[in-house]
């Protein structure tokens, strides 16, 4: 036993071996401490995800942007896949809006509505707090939540 210990304390090979063993021991302790924590965190995350609807999961980070996700879903259902859309924002009140809504709704819609493309001249308009009269002539409200978000159709 003493011989074994002496072997571990000889320079340089014994010290290198001792160091390697200590590194492995530290790593093993760290793994045994961290693994349950990681499993807890992952379990919490799985539980939180399972409480969301598929729609919420798909919308993800967009939930903080879209105010009312029904508008984008209506747009995706009504606008043909090879069609286009425009996004117009305005100062009118939007229920559920956050500080991100007006700045990022166009970018989020660009991703969410793919393969539909953004076009300023599209007949389909996602209106976020906009004035429908300012969007164009002959504008028809296709869908609205009555709280600042609408899907409009204008003459192309």
């Amino acid at each position: 036993m003493t011989g074994r210990l002496k072997e571990f304390l000889t320079w340089p090979y014994g010290i290198a071996r001792l160091g390697a063993a200590l590194c492995a021991a530290v790593a093993a302790v760290a793994v045994l401490v961290e693994l349950p924590r990681a499993l807890d965190r992952l379990g919490d995350r799985a539980e939180a995800s399972s409480k969301l609807t598929y729609e919420d999961r798909e919308m993800g980070a967009g939930l903080g942007v879209v105010a009312d996700q029904r508008a984008l879903r209506e747009a995706r259902a009504l606008i043909p896949a090879d069609g286009s859309y425009d996004v117009v924002t305005g100062p009118a009140a939007i229920r559920g809006a956050t500080g991100l809504t007006r700045d990022f709704i166009e970018a989020f819609a660009a991703s969410f509505l793919l393969p539909r493309r953004h076009s300023n001249s599209s007949p389909w308009v996602l209106c976020y707090g906009c004035d429908a009269d300012s969007v164009g002539e002959d504008v028809r409200v296709v869908w609205t939540n009555g709280e600042g978000v609408s899907l409009l159709r204008r003459r192309a």
């Binding site: 340089p12 290198a16 390697a20 590194c23 499993l39 919420d56």
Partner: protein, 457 residues
């Protein structure tokens, strides 16, 4: 998420595994079914790398995208590997450590069991994960949708989406998953990134099992993948961790090549580095770090090593030209450092804070536990034990990567000196070195354990 989507993901990743297994068979050969299984992680990541690089080149030249193209690529890679072996023969593979070096079955089993428990928990967490990652939602997934829905790199949309100069390997990977799932399922796509994570653990364990005692291998490998940052970000549909896997595995293969001189190790590393450069722009920086470290560490045998290293680096770089030509021909900017070539010297005041930030991110236990201190200690211990090439290489990789991370913050004056991931990429960057430690440190410790008596590694 549907069972069909999951089956699609499994089918896609099985194709990558099959293509990669053919490549490893052609490059190295297998001594039996157990070796096919042991090297399955390496095979998968090699298959993914080669097929994905091929897909990027095809997208750039305008080949229409679809599930058929992905299948054709995997089949073509596998057939090419078989034909090349038939016509040219297999590169001579010398003796490698045999499976007897695996060590006590109980320890290996315990390490593997902990890995399985962790990976299963990751799978459960990713199964229903929402698309909450901002960069994923902002450009990685939209680019994948463009490729999937419109059949290629639609120029107008690619120019409208943020991160225009970011390479399209990850969008192509995700678009392939969409094609196999039958829908742009942005929820299930999180699980796509579970496969490379599993493969990385399997690849490092498979490569090192015959070379490193189980007691030194599993704790260090698991420590790397259990770090909070890896746990939190591994399944995000983004490029960061995939880049880290490619880089870390390539760094390990180059380390093995420096010691064992097996051709397949360098060839495989070149393929992984090529994929890394097409995964994120940082891939160029990290490839340069590994290449420079290998060149310096092999200076005693420069006549033998340097031409081979140079060829490997050129071969890795050439496929990335396709993407560079695509985006430079469209006048996309944003690649070069904000401060310009010599602009660094106009911002000398940022040099020290940038270095301090890089070191503080690397040694932050809340982010990476004790992975970095153990990495540094392992290099020192391998030197103490009398080894030279391997610890010199590992030390140089570490030094160059830290210098590279420092340079990123220094050369982009608009980046604040902070570890906040939304403002400065330093934490994401250091992940590459942490996973490189996860791969290299067991090898360094095994070298320290054996001592000089068993060869100057």
């Amino acid at each position: 998420m549907s069972v069909g989507a999951l089956i699609g993901l499994v089918a896609l990743n099985t194709l990558f595994l099959a293509a990669g297994t053919s490549l490893v068979w052609a490059l190295r050969g297998f001594r039996g079914p157990s070796e096919v299984a042991r090297l399955a992680g390496l095979s998968y990541l090699l298959g993914l790398a080669v097929c994905s690089v091929l897909l990027v080149v095809e997208l750039v030249v305008g080949v229409p995208f679809g599930a058929g193209l992905v299948v054709a690529n995997c089949v073509a890679v596998a057939v090419a590997a078989v034909l090349a072996t038939r016509l040219l023969g297999r590169p001579r593979t010398g003796e490698e450590p045999g499976p007897n070096a695996v060590g006590p079955v109980l320890l290996t089993g315990a390490g593997a069991a902990l890995a399985v428990v962790f990976l299963e928990a990751m799978f459960r967490a990713g199964r229903l994960a929402g698309l909450f990652e901002w960069d994923a939602m902002s450009f990685w997934v939209p680019k994948a949708k463009v490729i999937y829905f419109l059949g290629g790199l639609d120029e107008r949309l690619f120019l409208e989406i943020p991160g225009q100069s970011y390479p399209p390997l990850v969008p192509g990977f995700q678009a392939s998953a969409f094609a196999f799932m039958g829908d742009a399922d942005v929820v299930t796509v999180h699980l796509l990134f579970w496969f490379p994570l599993v493969a990385f653990v399997a690849a490092v364990a498979g490569l090192l099992a015959p070379r490193v005692p189980a007691l030194l291998l599993w704790p260090l490998l698991l420590l790397g993948v259990l770090t909070p940052e890896v746990v939190d970000r591994a399944l995000a549909p983004q490029a960061d961790l995939l880049l880290d896997y490619f880089v870390a595995l390539a760094a390990l293969l180059v380390a093995l090549w420096l010691v064992e001189r097996q051709t397949y190790q360098l060839v495989t590393a070149a393929a992984l580095l090529s994929a890394a450069m097409l995964t994120k722009r940082e891939g160029y920086l990290l490839t340069a770090c590994i290449g420079a470290a290998a060149l310096i560490a092999s200076w005693r045998e420069w006549r033998w090593a340097w031409p081979r290293l140079a060829v490997a680096l050129v071969v890795a770089f050439v496929p990335t030209l396709s993407w560079r030509i695509w985006f430079t021909s469209r006048d996309i900017r944003g690649e070069a450092p904000e401060a310009g070539g010599l602009g660094l010297f106009d911002h000398l005041d940022r040099a020290w804070p940038s270095l301090r930030l890089a070191l503080s991110a690397l040694f932050d236990a809340d982010l990476w536990l004790v992975a970095a201190p153990l990495g540094v200690l392992a290099v020192v211990l391998a030197f103490v034990a009398g080894a030279r090439r391997l610890p010199a290489y590992a030390a140089l990789v570490t030094l160059f990567m830290v210098a590279g991370f420092t340079w990123v913050t220094w050369s982009f004056p608009s980046l604040p000196i902070t570890k906040d991931g939304a403002l400065n990429p330093i934490v994401r960057l250091t992940g590459s070195l942490i996973l490189t430690f996860a791969a290299l440190v067991p090898l360094l410790l095994a070298t320290a354990w054996r001592g000089e008596r068993e060869g100057r590694a």
